[in-house]
């Protein structure tokens, strides 16, 4: 089983990197682009035969406690079977 965790700044928090990348893209002629948000992506492999419920709980907790900084970031978890 694998899980994917996507971490990015909360919508209300300034994302300097995304903003700079966005204006670079626009100046290169990608004029349909209006906003860019940049984040981190983690692909996590779980032990074979791990209890699915327990594993989900572990990933959720890891995302909240370690991978994301809940003060300024939000995250989304996807599980792939």
């Amino acid at each position: 089983m694998k899980a994917r965790v996507y971490v990015s700044y909360k919508e209300t928090v300034l994302d300097p990197q995304g903003k700079t990348v966005c204006s670079a893209l626009q100046s290169l002629g990608y004029t349909d682009i209006v906003d860019v948000r940049q984040g981190k992506f983690f692909e996590i492999t779980l032990k074979d035969g791990a209890d699915p419920a327990g594993a989900r709980k572990q990933i959720e907790e890891a995302a909240h406690e370690v991978l994301a900084n809940p003060v300024i970031e939000e995250y989304r978890v996807e599980f792939l079977d």
């Binding site: 300097p16 990197q17 670079a24 290169l28 940049q38």
Partner: protein, 223 residues
């Protein structure tokens, strides 16, 4: 001799390069604005250190699209001397003027300190005034200075005598301790250490002068 120092948004060693060339080397220097596709009558180009575009996305990844960079590529293709220091080295590899890539230091931290470097070749317009095997003491100041390339590229760099400098202590985890490399034409040098920060005794070292003096000598013999 006239050096052109490119200013990208976020360059912050541009003035240091200008100061070294003018005050400590006694040569001329002008600033070249990133948005201007003309280099004017400069004899050599310096891509200075700093954080062009904040180093956002990847170091040097946005700067490589600047109008000035198309001019620099043309200048290099015609044999002009281009020295990329720190962020300038990162821009050179992102632009494809030099092979490989620069990634985060092995310890994942920014490192600022003087380090000893060994001059690996004197067969270049940047190192001719040094001795082969000479140890230069130059500052590094970077978070992403770990040089990586595939084995074939590394073998090729060595076979073609294009490794200009190696770290004596491999502070950032660079493959084969590489600190600076030349292009195939030997007229483009990228290096992570800062020679412009070692050009007068008050900076704690004058070892960087060897590199600039080599460039001046090379330009003087050019037609």
């Amino acid at each position: 001799m006239k050096f052109g120092v490119v200013v990208f948004p976020g360059s912050n060693c541009d003035h240091d390069a200008w100061y070294s060339v003018t005050a400590n080397l006694g040569e001329q220097a002008v600033f070249l604005w990133h948005d201007d596709p003309h280099l004017g009558d400069v004899d050599a180009v310096i891509l200075p250190g700093g954080f062009s575009y904040g180093d956002y996305l990847r170091c040097g990844a946005i700067a490589k699209f600047s109008p000035v960079m198309s001019a620099v590529k043309k200048f290099a293709a015609e044999g002009g001397l281009v020295l990329g220091i720190c962020n300038g080295f990162q821009i050179l590899v992102e632009s494809g003027l030099l092979p490989g890539a620069l990634v985060r230091n092995r310890n994942l931290k920014f490192i600022c300190r003087h380090v000893p470097l060994r001059v690996e070749t004197t067969n270049s317009p940047f190192t001719s005034a040094a001795e082969k095997g000479q140890v230069l003491r130059l500052p590094i100041a970077h978070g992403e200075g770990c040089y990586v390339a595939d084995e074939r590229t590394l073998d090729e760099l060595e076979a073609e005598d294009r490794v200009a400098f190696r770290y004596l202590e491999n502070v950032n985890g660079s493959q084969r301790s590489i600190a600076g490399i030349l292009n195939r034409g030997r007229n483009v040098l990228g290096m992570m250490p800062h020679p412009e920060r070692a050009t007068d005794p008050l900076m704690g070292s004058t070892d960087g002068l060897a590199i600039f003096r080599s460039m001046v000598a090379a330009m003087a013999t050019q037609p």
